[in-house]
């Protein structure tokens, strides 16, 4: 009943390797950790005999090593390591694989040869930066903290906002080389269990060697790989994540990444700014409508110029047509090439401004604005009217709060540009139909991406184009099928 062409399930390989559980010995461990210059092996003479410590010194907090391990062992009068190190959280080890995993994660391995016991305790160096205001999702009002690269700290920031036991976390390790820790968070009483199952399966199915960023994790979890549209919301704001959790969504935090992933999302979430919920509803609604209009304007303004000047010039009143004809009369290029060259130039300027140092940015503004803008008009390469339209279109594209969406606009602009040059205004409409058809076909964690428009959930429209008064948004979004529909305790 879903797709017209369902994919055939792939047959699993019959010869899957069995997990090897090799017993841990001193010799095997040394062999496994050979050629590691930062590996330390210390023989510590204690009252209970000689104890060997294995650790990678670049990963270990040396001060804590003395405090938690060396000192207690030196003053130990008991016969077992576990009893001496009561304050350290130690785990007993039995196999080589486990030992390897622990040591590279920043644990110290303790070997008691007299009793042939192995233990591990985590003493990882806490590398973290201070919590700073968000850079990509800045707000005037509202919280000023953003995620950092330490996953535990990120979890704390969310937990502090949602101090309930129903907020559950599940940890996964992905990446055969990076062994990246991914934490899935959800509120048990609210989030639809179906989403949790889907998400869990998706994480477990990830098979890759290294993950450097949350967007890479998202790429492996997305339902549709060949689309420019993001299927997870990447946010650096803990308040946005806790709000999503409260609505019944799932948040994924990836270690060493200052961005959280939120899913399932819909297309319209990408237009919502955290500030929408801090401003008064009329103002927030107005700004949201402006954002949607800007997106539409950024997509269609340049293609519309090409369509009108190439095919449908009769659509304009004579006065406007005169202006257009006059500005275009001496241009050597057709409208399509004029637009293509200008849009590519604009993209070059945009990309350069991102890569350049801040101080050079001003120079870029001068070059972009005066030299490329004014001089190209004077040289007769581009019309005045077109420069105005490109300017409006470029500014309008920045109104979309999601950075990924800003990038998509450029791509879609080119797509519509080609269609408009071929078929004029109907070409733009056909292009829009294709884009919408594509969006209708997308899903995020198997949930419809274009909801609540289609499938239609009229109740969710209270927080769609218009952000209704907070006091009236009493229900959670229906498209998320939350376990608890109401956000309030008492209903009339």
């Amino acid at each position: 009943m879903g797709s017209l062409f369902p994919k055939k399930p792939r047959q699993k390989s019959k010869s899957e390797p069995l997990s090897s559980k090799i017993p841990l010995t001193d010799e095997l461990l040394k062999k496994s950790l050979a050629n590691m210059e930062d590996l330390e092996i210390i023989a510590l003479n204690t009252n209970i005999g000689t104890v060997f410590l294995y650790y990678i010194k670049t990963l270990i907090d040396n001060e804590r090593l003395n405090e938690v391990i060396v000192e207690p062992l030196n003053h130990c009068s008991k016969d077992q390591i576990a009893k001496c190190l009561m304050n350290a959280k130690i785990e007993k080890l039995s196999n080589l694989e486990e030992a390897e995993k622990k040591i590279v994660q920043g644990s110290i391995l303790l070997y008691d040869p007299t009793q042939n016991h192995w233990f591990a305790t985590l003493l990882e160096t806490p590398l973290s930066r201070s919590i700073e205001p968000p850079e990509t999702e800045t707000v005037i009002y509202g919280a000023k903290d953003s995620f950092v690269e330490q996953i535990d700290q990120n979890i704390t920031m969310i937990r502090q906002r949602l101090p309930v036991t129903a907020l559950k976390t599940e940890t996964f390790n992905i990446g055969s080389l990076s062994r990246t820790k991914v934490v899935m968070m959800y509120i048990e009483d609210i989030t639809n269990p179906e989403f949790i199952t889907i998400a869990r399966e998706k994480i477990k199915a990830i098979d890759f060697d290294q993950f450097l960023d949350s967007s890479q994790v998202a790429a492996f979890m997305e339902d549709h790989k060949n689309t420019p549209f993001p299927q997870f919301l990447e946010t650096e704001r803990p308040d946005a994540c806790s709000n999503s959790l409260a609505l019944g969504k799932i948040v994924f935090l990836v270690d060493k990444t200052a961005y959280g992933l939120v899913g399932p999302i819909n297309f319209f979430h990408l237009f919502q700014s955290p500030e929408d919920y801090f401003l008064r509803w009329i103002i927030a609604s107005f700004l949201r409508c402006i954002r949607f209009s800007s997106f539409f304007l950024a997509l269609t303004l340049v293609p519309l110029y090409v369509a009108i000047t190439t095919h449908n010039y009769e659509i304009l009143p004579l006065q406007i047509l005169y202006v257009l004809l006059e500005t275009r009369s001496k241009l050597p290029f057709t409208p399509f090439w004029e637009a293509t060259l200008m849009l590519i130039t604009l993209e070059i300027i945009k990309e350069a401004s991102l890569r350049m140092p801040t101080k050079s940015g001003q120079i870029l503004g001068v070059i972009g604005g005066i030299v490329i803008g004014q001089a190209t008009v004077q040289a007769g390469f581009v019309s005045n009217v077109f420069i105005v339209l490109v300017g409006i279109s470029a500014i309008a594209s920045f109104l979309v709060p999601n950075y990924l969406m800003t990038k998509i606009i450029t791509l879609l602009q080119f797509f519509l540009l080609v269609l408009s040059s071929l078929l004029g205004i109907p070409g733009i409409v056909l292009g829009m139909i294709i884009i919408i058809a594509h969006l209708v076909g997308l899903t995020s964690l198997k949930q419809p991406y274009f909801a609540p428009i289609t499938p239609l959930y009229l109740k969710d429209w209270n927080d769609l184009f218009i952000r209704g008064p907070l006091t009236s948004i009493k229900e959670r979004p229906s498209f998320l099928s939350p376990l608890q529909r109401w956000r309030i305790k008492k209903r009339r």
């Binding site: 009143p317 078929l423 109907p426 058809a437």
Partner: protein, 329 residues
């Protein structure tokens, strides 16, 4: 004609009542399999062959008709084959998303096109309009009555009979008759508004002389930014055309699988594309060898009106009788 539109609306309502009765049948719930239980596999194959012809004619006429309007009003210089191709490819893409997603697209179509009806409201208050143009409401002169007009309106109201085959994809709601009634009422009111606006704007004498009165009316609308509003309105109608074509493409594909007795096999990309290639080439042949040369006296339009009227009339009745017979057994 006003009273005729209202009258046909009532008859259509009766037809929809029968359809809503059929809707409740358990046979329709399982789609093709359920219908095959209702009629038997041999009969289903026969009906499928006939249905293919009905659907092809419907698709061909509204697609080529629309591209012809586009050619006439927006692109007189372009080769119409290109327009047909682009519209078809867009529909093909939409249909490839599957029946469920294609059907979900209806909301977008509704949002994109519903406002067009309001464009016609100013024509009701045009300075030259005279209320006398609407008289006589009940014609006593038989020469004023046109069977062709009746058939045209009846065929324009057709379409809900295809909904019955979409039941597996739609919510099995008990209030189906209410939804049918709302849809029928909106359609009748829309035709009434368009007819009244056209007759008030053109006058009864001149109205019959225009081929596309509603589009010609929009030509007279002006705004400070756009002078030829009909270019925008016609273009926006693409949402409706693409959606309808995509839906009928899927119907055609489904029916051809029934006709070839392949309903138990999984749908394939190859089969779908082959089906699309057959339809597209038929469209192009249809347009280049039949439509282009004899548009005004073309029999295809009359045939399509007759087929749509027939399908709207007989599908509910046949279904109802078959269901009654099976349930009695």
């Amino acid at each position: 004609m006003i009273i005729v539109i209202i009258g046909i609306g009532f008859v259509s309502q009766l037809n929809l009542f029968i359809l809503s009765k059929c809707w409740k049948s358990r046979f329709l719930k399982d789609g093709a399999e359920g219908i095959s239980k209702l009629f038997g596999k041999r009969m289903i194959r026969l009906y499928a062959f006939i249905g293919l012809f009905f659907i092809f004619m419907k698709m061909a006429i509204f697609t080529i008709g629309y591209s012809d309007i586009m050619h006439q009003y927006i692109f007189p210089s372009i080769n119409n084959n290109w327009l047909i191709l682009f519209i078809f490819l867009t529909s093909l893409y939409l249909a490839s998303k599957g029946m469920e997603k294609t059907f979900q697209f209806v909301v977008i179509v509704m949002l994109s096109t519903f406002w067009i009806i309001f464009v016609f409201i100013p024509f009701l208050f045009a300075p030259m309009s005279s209320i006398h143009d609407l008289y006589p409401l009940i014609p006593n002169d038989p020469s004023l009555f046109s069977w062709k007009g009746v058939l045209l309106i009846w065929s324009s109201l057709s379409g809900p009979e295809y909904l019955i085959f979409l039941k597996p994809w739609l919510t099995h709601d008990k209030r189906q008759f209410m939804y049918f009634t709302i849809g029928n009422m909106i359609s009748v009111l829309e035709y009434l508004l368009l007819f009244i606006a056209a007759i008030l704007f053109f006058g009864s004498n001149y109205l019959s002389k225009t081929l596309y009165p509603t589009i010609d009316m929009i030509k007279y609308l002006q705004s400070p930014v756009f002078e030829r509003m009909e270019i925008i309105v016609i273009s926006v109608y693409l949402f409706y055309i693409v959606f309808a074509l995509a839906l009928f493409l899927l119907f055609f594909y489904g029916l051809s699988r029934l006709a070839l007795a392949k309903w138990n096999l999984q749908t394939t990309r190859k089969g779908y594309l082959f089906c699309a290639a057959v339809i597209l080439s038929s469209f192009l042949i249809f347009y280049n060898f039949l439509w282009k040369f004899s548009y005004k006296g073309f029999w295809g339009l009359d045939l399509e009106i007759a087929l749509s009227s027939l399908s709207y009339l007989i599908i509910p009745i046949i279904l109802w009788i078959a269901i009654k017979r099976k349930e009695d057994v």
